[in-house]
Amino acid sequence: MSGEVPKIRLRGLAKAFGEKKVLDGVDLDIRAGHGMVILGGSGSGKSVTIKCVLGLITPDAGRIEVDGRDVLSMKRREREELNDRIGMLFQNGALFDSLPVWENVCFKLLAQKRITRAKARDKAAEVLAQVGLAASVGDLSPAELSGGMQKRVGLARAIAAQPDIIFFDEPTTGLDPIMGAVIDGLIVDVVKRLGATAVSITHDMASARRIGDDAAMLHKGRIVWTGPASTLGATGNAMVDQFARGEREGPIQMELRR
């Protein structure tokens, strides 16, 4: 990591909702063209962290840099141009239920006028195939899909515009193991083929090792460990190892969260 500018650099990121401090000084470097997995207990602020980078939540303090440029001080136009190059899979899919699936998938391409509506259906079918969905799914409405299918449509929507940076909030949660592996393969492929930087949040260690080059663990509002994802489970860090192996006993005690 030495020398080169990280794709995303977070410094001292802090965010509280009312009394509750969710992020309390997050420092993290994410390498360009690599996969980063963010681990952490439920409610530890993983989703909040990436929403801060996307500009959906304004942090109370700290610095966010993308390609070495300070994001928080950007003008609206610059911010929009940056967002044009970023894709996001929301934890709950967040599909537009007033639009058919094909329009969801091609939404960003249509918004940027990169394709015409006439061509969008074919394009959608192509991207849907990558996430293991038949072209006929394109004509359904999101409400007619199962949870796992919605997730995959969300994934298709996130990658359709071929972004430079992609955030995946729990891409394989709710999928069967085989489909999970297919999606992992797709994420790796997106990083390799597009040279994109993928930031994934996951609770699935097998998946984390497959899609991550690097891994970071968020605990109590801070990044407590970063290292190669391949070592997860045997990192030597007692906290991370406990988390990765899913053990009840260890330095992380289950707390009743407020």
């Binding site: 929301f90 934890q91 537009f96």
Partner: protein, 258 residues
């Protein structure tokens, strides 16, 4: 807590903050109508939703209002032998007051509620955040076309309500109250001034804007799941109904005040 002056002060401050926030929201929404991209397809969809699909409700209420107005004024005016003024009373009341107000209250129930529920659901399911990540400004996409549609659809509906309201009065006048058909219509037209209709249409445009504004604002700022969306829906309908009646007085004062 115990100091009543402080409590009143807090309430007034909170009210001012809300009014300010709504005004800024409206300004931003309108400003998006002046800058491209424009969402003509969405505008037409909302126009149909408001104007076309509200027609049956507005038509029914207008006819019955005209009918009851004729009956009431006839029996009331009979006490001082002024039964002949029924046609004039009906047309003035309908075009200046009852047409705009009753049609708007009906539309507030239909459209204010549905906009608040739709946008509120999009808020709590991250769909509004998703728009931002898909190169689309949610204010421009969700709010601006709705505001414009409300502004344009409502005068059209009120024009229909005016005509049907007068027809309702004519129906009762000719079938029950012994007016001749031609005589009733002549009396209607003789006393009608352009300003009566115009003031009603101006009211309609303002009310249409207020209904869609409150629907959008309550939905856009809703929080906390299904319950939050439910509360947003109620607030949208109640707030727009109160605003309609309050603005009705102010506009009347501006047109006809002495």
């Amino acid at each position: 807590m115990l100091n009543p002056v402080a409590a009143i002060g807090r309430a007034v401050l909170a009210a001012c903050r809300t009014v300010g926030a709504v005004a800024l929201f409206a300004l931003e929404g309108v400003s998006h109508l002046l800058r491209p991209p424009f969402y003509g397809r969405l505008f037409l969809k909302h126009l149909a939703e408001i104007a076309y699909f509200s027609l049956p409700v507005v038509a029914l209420t207008a006819v019955f209002t005209g009918m009851v107005l004729a009956l009431q004024s006839y029996t009331g005016f009979a006490r001082f032998n002024a039964e002949g003024a029924v046609a004039n009373v009906v047309v003035l009341s309908i075009t200046r007051e009852l047409g705009p107000v009753i049609a708007s209250l009906m539309v507030a129930g239909r459209i204010g509620a549905s906009f608040a529920a739709e946008i509120g659901t999009m808020r709590v399911t991250d769909q509004i955040d998703a728009l931002t990540t898909l190169s689309t400004n949610p204010m421009k996409y969700l709010v601006a076309p709705r505001l414009l549609a409300g502004l344009i659809a409502m005068p059209f509906l009120v024009l229909v309500a005016d005509i049907l309201g007068v027809m309702g009065g004519w129906l009762i006048g000719t079938t029950k109250l012994g007016f001749s058909s031609g005589g009733y219509l002549k009396a209607t037209m003789d006393f009608l001034e352009v300003m009566d209709v115009v003031s009603g249409l101006v009211k309609a445009a303002v009310f249409g804007f207020v209904i869609t504004l409150m629907g959008c604002w309550c939905g856009y700022t809703s929080r906390g799941g299904a319950q939050g969306v439910g509360a947003a829906t109620t607030t949208a309908v109640v707030a727009s109904s109160i605003l309609i009646l309050a603005l009705d007085y102010i506009i009347t004062e501006m047109f006809f005040g002495t």
